[in-house]
């Protein structure tokens, strides 16, 4: 294999595909990147079996070929080069990277050991999904990172009415986003996709046009975004029935400026010195008072102007969870609906039903 290209073209490809590799896993080859050249088309692939990312790039190809090189090292080398042309050459044992007066030779893995990358899924559903980037940002954060509860590490993507619905929960909060009019799935069809894969997808989307193509198989799904393709296994099992968790009505409604609330929360959170310290929110007719008290460190209190209708009360939340919800509500104002200090509260944008973030309070002694 031999080709030439701009450093930035190669860096985008190796760093993008490298995000799917697992350098510390039990199989060394999974810490490698597969570089395949056919004509002028370079395809760089990284995988940890569950997740695969392939990035295509157009290069000045000399000889076709294949090599598997350590992802981290290769990426670091390419990144260290000055902008300009990079020449890459590989034989059975080494990959050579040359730029300017630098020349690196890196030992490669046996290319035939590299796992077969999932073939394009059968029963492909092909369609464009717009608005997915924002929806992922709003929903994946509520998924669990607890591998002991695999179902909750996924994001449910389901056909809902004439659109698509994304739902995730870690059992402390639940995020739900509707994408009306996006008809990617058939009626009643739903899949459970690992949130890790969707976080990577979101990264890809942020650096490309927000147009995604989904192909769906029985056990895997693949997303094509620009020059990159991300393939992930699906999580098997039934997502909890989230509908019963969402209260049908709320007696108390708070409307508050999103930025004002966020700024105040981030300030008072400084006093939350461990992960279990809650922020207490005292709800009053024309304002709310946020307070964080940590015995050994001190206290922070801040008042924020707000409109509140309902009975006066204090409800406590995990400040990180609350901030993560407020952050992704769109619009200048957010609405917080509450029942009482021990029942789920709901954050949503004012005047829109597309998004909701259900959050369980913290019980304070």
């Amino acid at each position: 294999m031999k080709f030439r290209c701009e450093r930035d073209v190669l860096l985008d490809a190796v760093s993008g595909a490298g995000r799917a590799t697992s350098p510390r896993g039990s199989m060394p080859i999974l810490g490698g990147l597969r570089l395949g050249l056919q004509g002028d088309l370079l395809t760089v692939t990284g995988t940890d079996i569950d997740l695969t990312i392939s990035v295509e790039a157009t290069v000045d190809g000399k000889h076709d070929g294949l090599a598997v090189a350590p992802a981290r090292l290769t990426t670091d080398i390419v990144r260290s080069f000055d902008p300009g042309a990079v020449e890459v050459e590989a034989d059975d044992e080494d990959l050579t990277l040359m730029s300017g007066r630098s020349r690196f030779t890196v030992r490669t893995h046996q290319a035939s050991d590299f796992p077969r990358v999932a073939a394009p899924a059968k029963d492909a559903t092909v369609s464009g999904i717009s608005g997915l980037s924002e929806a992922l940002r709003q929903v994946t954060r509520a998924a669990s990172s607890d591998d002991g509860r695999p179902i909750l590490t996924g994001v449910l993507i389901a056909a809902e009415g004439a659109g698509l619905r994304l739902v995730a929960t870690d059992s402390y909060r639940l995020a739900l986003r509707d994408l009306p009019g996006v008809s990617v799935l058939g009626e009643g069809q739903k899949v459970l996709i690992p949130s890790r894969a969707l976080n990577e997808l979101q990264r890809l989307l942020s650096s490309a046009a927000d147009e995604t193509t989904l192909r769906l198989g029985d056990h895997d799904a693949s997303f094509a975004v620009g020059h990159a393709t991300l393939t992930t296994r699906l999580i098997e099992g039934d997502f909890p029935d989230y509908r019963v968790l969402i209260p049908s009505g709320y007696p108390n409604r708070l409307v508050v400026g999103r930025e004002d609330l966020l700024d105040a929360l981030r300030r008072v959170k400084l006093l939350a010195r461990d992960a279990t310290t809650p922020v207490k929110m005292a709800l009053r007719p024309n304002s709310i008072e946020l307070a964080v008290v940590t015995n050994d460190w001190g206290a922070a209190v801040e008042e924020v102007e707000a409109k509140y209708e309902g009975s006066e009360m204090t409800v406590a939340f995990n400040p990180t969870y609350l901030i993560e919800g407020v952050e992704v509500v769109t619009g200048e104002e957010v609405c917080l609906d509450t029942l009482d200090a021990l029942k789920p509260a709901v954050l949503r944008p004012v005047g829109s039903d597309d998004y909701l973030y259900l959050l369980m309070p913290v019980r304070v002694p």
Binding site: S26, L152, S171, Y172, G237, P240, D241, T276, V362, P365
Partner: protein, 445 residues
């Protein structure tokens, strides 16, 4: 030289059980009494956890490989440790201690510091309190302990060593001479009333009278000091320092240069009998752990699931007994090449249920590189908090189906398990996976 520690207005006793595990075994099985008993794993890699004085007279010591212990003392009876039973006896001991003072600091199952400053008015001088404690412990548990006392905490710990029975080479002839004799020699002539009242070295109670701390300390080898391990003692030996007295003669500045600032300064103070640490009652438990060394390296994760599950069961039972909840579960894996790796998982909320802890431990186990050969595995709980304490608790959504967790039901199960074990012994009830032919495949619902 001036002697007494700055916070010297208190009296500290250190109570240390004699050959604790072995003595408990002999108590429960009278046929073991008077014999060389070794508590510990008998396998190739087993180590001696505790041994009777009869075994010690053959040169057997704690932490010695069982193979070596067997060679030194072929007639010894090996007994597998029963930590649940020792913990039970330990609780009885603490009940005894609590009768003398509320200021009790347990440092292990068989060792505790007691601040008896206030108890003097009720029970008399420290030596008398020491003798009363020994008698009460014997009555309540049938076990023998040694008591050391001093105005200075760490000196009390060394004094309890001096109070211990002597190990003699002639079998069966350990003794507690009533008169002070032998080492620590320089101290034999102590004039204050404390020793006379308390009996001398080897007699079960040894009180270092106020003002005699340095005289007591100086003949001891430096290794006897708390905080002097093999590395430090080796460095000191190179400077020609073997005894505490020699250590005290070195300027503190020099020690700080050789041993590092904090450690050097600390040892310089100890060597002069200075220690302002107080007895800390209810010493907060920081971690609860258990580990097992295998006689043969294990290469498959299946062969490790059963022991990990057993350890998860045991540590979760202990965290419940302590009335605490744990948030962090850690597994420790030592591979064949002796490299040790730990992996931990922190839960969002504290738990004391076996199934939560086992699930986390098994998930961590699945990340271990078993093909490298596993020599030792351990499970520990950290990030402990008092049950129903002042901690705020994050509430959960009530998820149905597969993701469901029902803490109140699990709590009830664990409580019943604990109660059955309390009444019928630690082995009376366990997970099906840990007994019989079902040991092979382990999963958790």
């Amino acid at each position: 030289m001036r002697v007494v520690g700055e916070a010297s207005r208190r009296w500290v006793l250190h109570v240390d059980m004699d050959a604790f595990f072995a003595a408990v075994e002999a108590l429960d099985d009278p046929t073991l009494a008077g014999r060389a008993v070794i508590v510990g794993g008998e396998g190739r890699r087993g180590v001696v956890a505790s041994c009777s004085y009869e075994a010690r007279s053959f040169g057997v010591r704690s932490a010695m490989p069982s193979v070596e212990a067997r060679r030194l003392c072929p007639e010894a009876v090996f007994v597998a440790p029963r930590h649940g039973r020792y913990a039970q006896v330990s609780r009885q001991l603490h009940e005894v201690f609590a009768g003398f003072t509320p200021l009790v600091e347990g440092i292990s199952l068989d060792e505790a510091f007691l601040d008896v400053t206030g108890a003097e008015r009720i029970y008399g001088p420290p030596a008398r309190i020491g003798r009363l404690i020994r008698r009460r412990v014997l009555e309540q548990t049938g076990l023998v302990c040694s008591v050391g006392g001093s105005r200075v905490k760490f000196v009390a710990k060394m004094a309890s060593k001096a109070a211990k029975p002597r190990v003699t080479r002639s079998f069966g002839q350990r003794s507690r001479p009533n008169e002070p004799s032998g080492a620590p020699t320089a101290f034999g002539a102590a004039g204050d009333g404390g020793v006379a009242n308390g009996g001398g070295p080897g007699s079960g109670v040894f009180i270092v009278p106020e003002g005699q701390e340095v005289a007591f300390l100086h003949p001891h080898p430096v290794e006897a000091l708390w905080g002097v391990g093999p590395a430090t003692s080796c460095r000191l030996a190179r400077m020609g320092i073997k005894t505490v007295g020699e250590l005290a003669s070195v300027p503190p500045r020099t020690l700080e240069e050789v041993l590092g600032r904090a450690h050097g300064a600390h040892l310089a103070r100890l060597a002069r009998g200075l220690d302002d640490r107080e007895v800390q009652p209810e010493r907060a438990t920081k971690s609860i752990s258990q580990e097992e060394t295998f006689s043969d390296d294990r290469f498959d994760v299946e062969g490790l699931r059963v022991p990990v599950l057993g350890m998860a069961d045991s540590v979760s039972s202990r965290v419940r007994q302590a009335g605490m909840r744990a948030r962090t579960v850690t597994i420790k894996v030592r591979y064949r090449d002796r490299t040790t790796r730990t992996r931990s998982y922190t839960l969002k909320e504290g738990t004391d249920t076996t199934s939560d802890i086992a699930r986390a431990a098994l998930a961590l186990l699945s990340e271990a590189e078993c093909e490298r050969g596993v020599r030792l595995i351990g499970v520990s709980l950290t990030n402990l908090a008092e049950q129903g304490g002042t901690e705020a608790s994050q509430l959960s959504l009530d998820l149905g189906g597969e993701a469901k967790r029902n803490p109140s039901c699990r709590d009830a199960t664990s409580a019943v398990v604990d109660e059955v074990r309390r009444r019928f012994g630690p082995e009376s009830l366990t997970t099906a996976a840990l007994v019989g032919p079902a040991r092979r495949s382990v999963g958790l619902s």
